[in-house]
Symmetry: C2
Subunit: 197 residues, 2 copies
């Protein structure tokens, strides 16, 4: 267990997201994920690591059924509730109820959003990659809609997720708020040192 706790810290700070899904027969599921990763902007893609043999299995089954899932930023007001969703509940149990979170639906997206989350993303699955080394899966999803508070948008398009009180995770179970040090400039390289395009 100490070794497992150490290894979990090595990647650095992690994103803190709740994934919302629903089964075809209407059973809602919400689960915390610290493995959501930006894959690219054009087309807009997010990746996520699923562990088919552990808790998020219901999540995966639901995504296969409805072809939709949501990613919802965990913020300072709900991180303790969000952490509760990591429990190993039976499929009939709604983690929304267990964690005291509220489901909210948009018109387009079949999966439930987390109402308390300030930044919400509606996603459709596009690719799966099975990682043989530990039998996990990279799920690639296409961003179909985004909900965020207008006051978090900066002039250049940047979304100030710190203003939305989004938290970050380290290891298995530590939650952190953040303080912006700086927004740095795009790095321009002197022509003599530039790589050819």
């Amino acid at each position: 267990m100490p070794r497992l706790k150490l290894i979990n810290c090595l990647s650095g700070f992690k994103s803190a997201n709740l994934m919302g899904t629903v089964s075809n027969d209407g059973i809602e599921n919400v689960a915390i994920f610290s493995s959501v990763v930006h894959l690219g902007s054009n087309p807009p893609l997010l990746g996520c690591i699923l562990r088919p043999h552990s808790v998020p299995r219901h999540t995966y089954e639901n995504i296969r059924e409805t072809e939709w899932y949501t990613i919802n930023h965990v913020n300072t007001n709900i991180y303790e509730q969000a952490h509760q969703t990591s429990g190993n509940y039976r499929k009939e149990i709604s983690e929304f109820d267990q964690a005291g979170l509220e489901a909210w639906y948009s018109k387009a997206c079949a999966a439930p959003y987390v109402k308390e989350s300030q930044i919400k993303i509606g996603i459709q699955p596009v690719e799966e990659h099975f990682i043989e080394a530990n039998e996990t899966m990279l799920l690639v999803g296409s961003i179909e809609e985004v909900w965020f508070p207008e006051h978090c948008r900066e002039e250049d398009g940047f979304l100030n997720i710190e203003k939305a009180e989004t938290v970050t995770i380290s290891g298995l179970d530590a939650y952190h708020s953040t303080d912006r040090l700086s927004k740095l400039e795009y790095v321009r390289v002197d022509e003599s040192m530039q790589r050819e395009q």
Copy 2:
């Protein structure tokens, strides 16, 4: 560009790491990555998204040549230098020199570590997955050695990366320090609600 900046913020906070590599003819390369993700603890695996058509191409070529790379946490003392490595330099140019960072070698690992980084991980590549949706690649690596300051290790095995001044990234170019809110307990579920193993 505003859209690209927005999309880059949606995954939440990102890990901030420098990847160190070297070519067979000894040209060192170091590049910042915000896509390093924990894949699993047993075996200990890290993932990373490579964009073969952009800057980190040299990184990829070097990994193929030496079968080693390093992941080094970016901390508050070096984040501005680390950001410099995102420039588009020719292969002959060492980003260590350009960014004012120092390479350091262990006995086992062929790739250079970043001396200024407090948490350093030596990795060997084990799997590659080509993501068709945007022609990027998930590189899966096996953690072979880890260097960290002893005072950052907590009693339960947890590595306090905040104490190591590790930073986190949002979007393309914003750097943040962190404040730990809490380390939460493992969630135990009442037997009547538990999923069968």
